[in-house]
Amino acid sequence: MKPKRTEAIVLHTIAVRERDKLVVFLTPEHGKRKGWAYGARGARSRFGASLEPLAKINIGFIEKESEEVVRIESVDLIRSLFPAQQNLLGSIAATYIAETVDTFAIADDPSELIYRLLDRTTEALLAGATPLAVVAYTEVWILRLSGILPSLKNCIVCDQPLARPLRYDARVSGFVCENCTTRDADVIPNDVADALDAIMKFPVAEFAARAESDAVIFELRSLAGALRRHFLGHELKSFDILASLAGSR
């Protein structure tokens, strides 16, 4: 059987048996896949650092129709995230971004946009962008790409154009206009709304370069977090650990 070859980014790995790894990776054409990497944990493994989380690789794998897990045949490292992972917050942020993408990417469902989001955000971390700005960008965009982010332009209730200040109503999980607003709706500060627009408009590196204040990043993340939890019904596993390390910087 001929191996399939594609570009991929490693989302996470699980140590299995003595020396093997189960690798979850995201590809632009084949979506999210799982593969066995036999012997990958041995000191002289031919896979080396190329199957560590968030490594960008060229991967060759063999797929059997009856099996969900493919067999990884060859891996060439395109780009390692290791330099960015030598900063504690950068490393945990990268893990959190990987979990975010892993949670929303659907197995075997090709999504070039989600792949590109992961590619660009990890690249930004490598280039030294502020980890939490990259995290906020990812959190908002993954909602957008999954169709969960409510319109920033029109009222979710009456479809009239929205004006500043933006108002978020958790009961309808969306932004509401002045006429549809209730006492429960939260008024979004204008600098947070501007940052939200910037996320939609700019690539991640440009957004990170705007150097939004900690307060704005916090508000953006709270808003994205509320939408995410409403959709998933739970929080991501690495959320609290990222929060505890971001606080202890």
């Binding site: 080396g48 650092a49 390692s80 290791f82 979990e99």
Partner: protein, 197 residues
Amino acid sequence: MTAPPLANLINELTKLPGVGGKSASRLAYHILKRPVAEAESLATAILEVKSKIFRCSICNNMTDVEPCAICDDPRRDASIICVVEEAFNIATIEQTRDFRGVFHVLLGALSPLKGVGPQDIDVHGLVRRVQSGNVREVIVATNPNVEGEATALYIAQQLRTLDVKTTRLAFGLPVGGDLEYADQVTMAKALEGRREI
């Protein structure tokens, strides 16, 4: 059909890490073929390890005496602490016979995807040992992977304000390997850890 007592043993063996159905069955038939005395000593050894082994209160190593043989050895240099993820990592370092310091077992590594955070590993105990004085160097020997590295960074952060030198085990090229096959990360780390000859 497999006789129930045999099936039961196979089932118990498959609960061990790294043992699949085929290996479990092979082990079970092997035990069946051997003399009763051999099976008895295996069973006793398993029970004894559960009743007699506990964690050293100083370093978390597995021991049957308090403190463990390493912490209690006056010939060992207690001013150098080598930090490992798991107690079984101690054996690997002891094999070299080159390390004369003592150990600290973290009981895991930072692993956000498994929900293992700073509070779930024993960095606290390490900090306390360093704070109590007489520690010159902490060698962080966590695994050379993303989780091990994050753990090392966290330890370094926690020790930064204390009067102790913190070092990390070098990431190097495997002895007996070919330079040609080293990937860029391994190569970069090996360069970083180069020494004068």
